[in-house]
C-alpha cells in the first residue's frame, strides 16, 4: 500500500525565537497508508492539534516536510488550498463555524470553493448529508435553528462534501450524549468503509478509538511515542498510563483475567469481543446457563 501522508522530521516551534518559544511537535516521522483508519491519542498539550493542523497546511512546519501522495505540500505555497481540499479537517466543536442561511448552502461552501459545477456541488452536498444522517427537510432550515448534535453533523458534512482523500477529525464526539457519540462514530465508520478513504481520528475516548482504529498514534510531549496497530498499542497499558492515558476498561479487565490465569486471549478491545470469549468460559463452568 502506498503512503498517502508521510511526515519527515516534522518539527513545529511556537513563538519564533522569542522568550516564550515552545516546541509543540518535535521530529515526528509517520507514514499513513491509503485507506487506513488512524486513531490519535495523547493527553492535553501533547501536540496532537498542532500535528494535525500541519497535515492540511494550516500551520507551516518550522522544519521537516509533509508528503501528500509523495509530494511536498509546501513545494508551491500558493497551491496550499488544493492540499486543504485533499486533506479535509473537522475541528473541535465544528458547529461554531456555521454561517450560511440554510444548512444546504453551508454544506456547499467547501465544494463551492473548489470551483466545481453547481450540479456537482449539489450532488456532493446531498450525499454528504446522507452520510451523517441529516434528513432532507432539515437542509432548507437555518443552521442556527438546529440542535447541537445536528449542527455538528452539518459541519462534518460540510467537510465530507469536499470528498477529501484524507479526513481528519479532531474529537468529533466531544460534548455529545452517549447515544449521539455511538451514532456519529458508526456513521464515520460507515463512511470510511464505503469510500475507502483515509481517516485520522483524534479522541480522548479510548473506547471510541479501540472500536474504530486500525492503527494508533500516541503523542507524548510533542513526540510520536508509539505508532502501531491498536492491539499492540493497548497491550502496553503501563506505558500509556505513565503518559496520562489508559487502555479501554474492557481491555484492562481482560488483561487482569489473563494475568490471574484465566484462558482468555490477549488484545481484547471491545465489549463484543470480550463477551465472545467470556460466555463459553462461564458456560463451561456452569456459572450461566446455555440459552
Amino acid at each position: 500500500m502506498p503512503a498517502v501522508l508521510e511526515t519527515k522530521n516534522l518539527t513545529f516551534i511556537y513563538g519564533g525565537n522569542g522568550p516564550f518559544r515552545k516546541t509543540a511537535v518535535s521530529d515526528v516521522n509517520i507514514s499513513i497508508e491509503k485507506g487506513e483508519f488512524i486513531g490519535v491519542i495523547g493527553h492535553t498539550g501533547s501536540g496532537k492539534s498542532t500535528l494535525i493542523q500541519q497535515l492540511n497546511g494550516l500551520l507551516r512546519p518550522t522544519s521537516g516536510t509533509i508528503l501528500l501522495n509523495g509530494k511536498d505540500i509546501w513545494a508551491e505555497p500558493k497551491k496550499i488550498r488544493q492540499v486543504r481540499f485533499q486533506v479535509g479537517m473537522v475541528f473541535q466543536y465544528p458547529e461554531h463555524q456555521l454561517f450560511e442561511e440554510t444548512v444546504l448552502r453551508d454544506i456547499c461552501f467547501g465544494p463551492g470553493n473548489m470551483g466545481l459545477a453547481p450540479e456537482e456541488i449539489q450532488r456532493r452536498a446531498y450525499e454528504a448529508a446522507d452520510f451523517v444522517g441529516l434528513k432532507r427537510e432539515l437542509l432548507e432550515k437555518s443552521p442556527f435553528e438546529l440542535s447541537g448534535g445536528e449542527k455538528r453533523r452539518v459541519a462534518i458534512a460540510g467537510v465530507i462534501a469536499m470528498d477529501p482523500d484524507v479526513l481528519i477529525l479532531d474529537e468529533p464526539t466531544a460534548g455529545l450524549d452517549p447515544h449521539g457519540r455511538d451514532v456519529l462514530l458508526a456513521q464515520i465508520q460507515n463512511y470510511h468503509q464505503r469510500r475507502k478513504n483515509t481517516i485520522v481520528l483524534v479522541s480522548h475516548s479510548m473506547e471510541d478509538i479501540a472500536r474504530v482504529a486500525d492503527r494508533i498514534l500516541v503523542m507524548n510531549h510533542g513526540q510520536a511515542a508509539m505508532f502501531d496497530t491498536t492491539e499492540k498499542v493497548f497491550a502496553r497499558g503501563d506505558e500509556l498510563e505513565s503518559m496520562g492515558l489508559r487502555v479501554p476498561q474492557i481491555t484492562k479487565i481482560m488483561q487482569i483475567l489473563q494475568r490471574d490465569g484465566y484462558p482468555v486471549g490477549n488484545g481484547v478491545l471491545t465489549m463484543e469481543q470480550a463477551i465472545r470469549q467470556l460466555a463459553p468460559l462461564l458456560k463451561s463452568r456452569g456459572c450461566i446457563h446455555a440459552q
Binding site: L58, R81, R84, H96, Q97, F99, F109, N113, V159, M162
Partner: protein, 270 residues
C-alpha cells in the same frame, strides 16, 4: 498570527509607578498631556521631556518597549514634521520650487516632533504600569460625581472591564474560525477589495453568533451571583492614596511650575 497583537500593554512589575494609585496616575498623565501643549518654547518643553524620561526610568520598563510603542506613530511624526518644515520665518536654508525651508521651520518641526513623542511616551507609561482593570476602576471612581446627573458610572465601567476581558478571548475565537473556514477552502489572501470583504462573511457571522452566546452565558453567570449593578456594591481592592502619590504629585507640580516660569521668562524662542 492574530495572537501576535498585544492589546492592553500592561507589563506587571513592582516599581514606584506600578504601586501608585491608578486614579492619581490617570489624572497626572492627563495633566502632563495638557502641559505639553502649555509649554510654549523649547526650554519649557524640555522640562516635560525631563519629566517623561524620569517616569520612564522609574517605571522599570525596558526602553525597548517604549521604542516599540513609538514605532506605531513614526509615520505621523515624520508627516507632521515635514509639513511644518515649510512654516516659519528666519534665514532661508533651502528653496524647492515655491517651497522655502527657513530656520524657523526647522525648529518648528523639531518642536512638534518632540511634542508628539513626549505625548505618546506619557500615555505609554500609564498603560505599561497600570492594568486595564485598575484603569477602569480608577475611571469609575473619578467619574463617580457624575451619578448626580443620573449617569450610570458603575455600569459604564463594568462594560469597559468586560469588553477588555473579552478581547483576547474573541481574538482566539477568530483565529479558530479562520482556521476552520480555511480548511474548507476559504480564500482570504487573494482577490479584489469586494471579494476580500465577501470572504469575511464566513468569519464574522460565526463570530457574532458566538459573541451573543458568550454574552448570554456571562449574564446568566453574573445573575447567579446576584449581581444587580453598582448600588451598595463594595470593592475587593479599594483604592488608597498614599504618601507616594502625594510625593509624585508634588514632583510633577514642580515641573509644571518650571514650565510656566520658562514660558513667561523665555518667551518666543523662535
Amino acid at each position: 498570527m492574530l495572537s501576535d497583537i498585544t492589546l492592553g500593554q500592561y507589563l506587571p512589575g513592582n516599581s514606584v509607578l506600578h504601586r501608585m494609585d491608578p486614579r492619581v496616575k490617570l489624572i497626572l498623565t492627563f495633566a502632563c498631556i495638557v502641559f505639553i501643549f502649555v509649554a510654549g518654547n523649547l526650554w519649557s518643553l524640555l522640562c516635560m521631556v525631563a519629566l517623561v524620561a524620569g517616569g520612564m526610568l522609574l517605571s522599570g520598563v525596558p526602553v525597548g518597549q517604549y521604542l516599540k510603542s513609538l514605532r506605531a506613530i513614526i509615520v505621523i511624526v515624520v508627516f507632521t514634521s515635514v509639513l511644518n518644515l515649510f512654516y516659519g520665518n528666519g534665514d532661508l536654508l533651502l528653496k524647492i520650487g515655491v517651497m522655502e525651508i527657513r530656520t524657523g521651520g526647522v525648529l518648528n518641526s523639531i518642536f512638534i516632533a518632540i511634542r508628539i513623542i513626549t505625548l505618546i511616551l506619557f500615555s505609554a507609561i500609564l498603560t505599561f504600569t497600570t492594568s486595564p482593570t485598575q484603569l477602569t476602576d480608577a475611571m469609575e471612581r473619578i467619574m463617580k460625581p457624575l451619578t448626580v446627573f443620573h449617569i450610570k458610572v458603575h455600569e459604564i465601567a463594568m462594560m469597559m472591564t468586560i469588553a477588555l476581558r473579552f478581547v483576547p478571548t474573541l481574538l482566539e475565537e477568530t483565529d479558530k474560525i479562520m482556521s476552520a473556514q480555511k480548511a474548507r477552502g476559504a480564500d482570504m489572501e487573494s482577490g479584489g477589495l469586494v471579494q476580500r470583504a465577501k470572504a469575511l462573511i464566513p468569519i464574522l457571522i460565526p463570530l457574532f453568533v458566538s459573541s451573543f452566546r458568550r454574552a448570554y452565558d456571562l449574564a446568566m453567570a453574573m445573575e447567579c451571583r446576584c449581581y444587580h449593578g453598582g448600588e451598595g456594591r463594595t470593592k475587593m481592592k479599594s483604592l488608597h492614596i498614599t504618601g507616594l502619590d502625594i510625593y509624585s504629585c508634588c514632583v510633577t507640580a514642580v515641573f509644571f511650575a518650571a514650565v510656566i516660569l520658562l514660558n513667561l521668562f523665555l518667551p518666543g524662542l523662535f
